[in-house]
Symmetry: C2
């Protein structure tokens, strides 16, 4: 059995330590840019995407030094997307994880540029060869491509556009699913696949893990929607029940809170069923599926 | 002798044809995002950076099919940077190349996302292996890293921050140079180096071409500053003499218009002198140095 709280704490600390070492420091000019990048990067993120990558690599079973840079690049992408999403012309959020959003502290121009710099740094990091012991250059290129496709027009950015276009519209469940498959699903999928590629997963292993990731991604989003309804401001670190106030359609609006909770649990169970052939090295992935579904923040 | 006008037209058309084929079309969802990306990408850019990459590869002398995708990725980065720079919270420009800026047509949220998508697509393109015949994966990784370093916090984005921080300040010439070395210089440097790497330039060739690129980058920026003073609205496709109106320090404010022109010509001459060992295959690079310095728009 894996103690998931301990596991999350340990991996989070490893990722944080690595990010702290590779992200430019505030003694180097332009210091304000680096400060702004670090402000959002070290704002208490749970590092779910890097940890999914690490756990996927562990499930395949061969340890690799290259996993930390690859996993950490996912957090750079995730952080940039939060900074840009919070901007006044996007979601116009003042708080994130209980702290002022990037543009509230550094201004809009710097927030846009910090996002651009974090996005670019993710690819800078993934293209380094000095940190990628044991990773073939061909696999490394494939990992970079996964990252680009999970986060660009065909992935996360595309999902953000779908989301904007659905605002104040009476969308159906299929449209809601398209939004989430792109907005959060594709990067979670990329996280698991990138982790698996680092340790040269076989095509069969990669396929099972991809299915796992798709199920977990859906569970993640449903749980997020449920939390937005039932979570308290204190637990979320931002305003609660904002979706309903914004007239935004969510899984609870289609299935009710209890129905949505049950659906998230089904997704998690299906994700776990994909891991049968991996045995105990996949225990962290199994616990992650449960954690993501049951989390309170 | 190279007819530079003809050369620019031919290469521009090649790059445009390639970009048109690899950038997502407007029949695929989310169509508005792809439309917004294409609006700025095909707004009449001169493709200086891709053409510098192509000409650098020609100077080294071995033709390669991989040059077009690598060169085109530079235009994706350049275009994203223009979209984000024009935003209300940045330069707040309504016109670019005689057309409304991206956010004036598609709104701020879509402009930010189109920029993010173009930036990500540049790395997506550079990590493709199906388009890179004859390029070793190790060189391809090095090319991706050049692109990231030329455009990220240590390059273009960093330069943009230096520029913002200098607004309404009485900066000295050294600070002006720091701004431009980063804001435009580093990506021009990356353009030439990426082109040279595609055709496996020797370390000596790469060094000479890097010096060429640094000189050309400086000539480019000085010429840009001169044009901002003496160019007409019609030629520039945007308002003229905006730098002075914004109280912005430029090369003409330090050296006068004639002094700045002379300085740009000196930089171009020095750039050309770096190419001695390359012979006639470097003629396009020589003509490009002259063109960049003498251009009227």
């Amino acid at each position: 059995m894996v103690d998931i709280t301990l596991y999350l704490d340990e991996k989070c600390e490893e990722v944080d330590r690595f990010l702290n070492a590779v992200v430019p420091d505030t003694k180097t000019a332009p210091a304000t840019l680096h400060d702004s990048m670090r402000y959002s990067l070290f704002a208490g993120g749970k590092r779910i995407r890097p940890i999914l990558a690490i756990a996927a690599a562990e499930a395949v079973g061969k340890p690799s030094r290259a996993i930390l840079p690859v996993a950490s690049s996912l957090e750079l992408i995730h952080t940039y997307s939060l900074i840009h999403d919070d901007l006044p012309s996007m979601d116009n959020d003042d708080y994130r994880r209980g702290k002022l959003t990037n543009h509230k502290v550094y201004g809009e121009a710097m927030a846009i540029l910090a996002g651009d710099a974090l996005l670019t740094l993710a690819f800078d990091l993934c293209s380094r060869t000095d940190l990628m012991d044991g990773l073939t250059p061909v696999l490394q290129l494939q990992i970079i491509r996964e990252l680009a496709q999970g986060s660009g027009h065909s992935g996360m950015v595309g999902g953000q556009v779908f989301d904007i276009q659905a605002e104040n519209k009476n969308i159906d469940l299929a449209t809601l699913q398209t939004i989430h498959t792109h907005k959060t699903g594709k990067l979670i999928r990329a996280s698991v696949r990138m982790g698996a590629l680092v340790v040269s997963a076989t095509p069969e292993q990669l396929e099972s893990l991809t299915h796992y990731a798709e199920d977990v991604g859906l569970a993640f989003q449903i749980a997020d929607d449920v939390l937005n309804v039932i979570g308290s401001r204190e637990e979320l670190g931002k305003d609660a029940n904002t979706d309903a106030q914004r007239g935004k359609k969510t899984y609870p609006s289609f299935h009710g809170v209890e129905g949505a909770k049950a659906l998230a649990e089904q997704c998690a169970a299906r994700a776990i069923s994909r891991l049968e052939s991996f045995g105990s090295p996949a225990d962290p992935l199994r616990e992650l599926a449960r954690y993501i579904t049951a989390r309170r923040k």
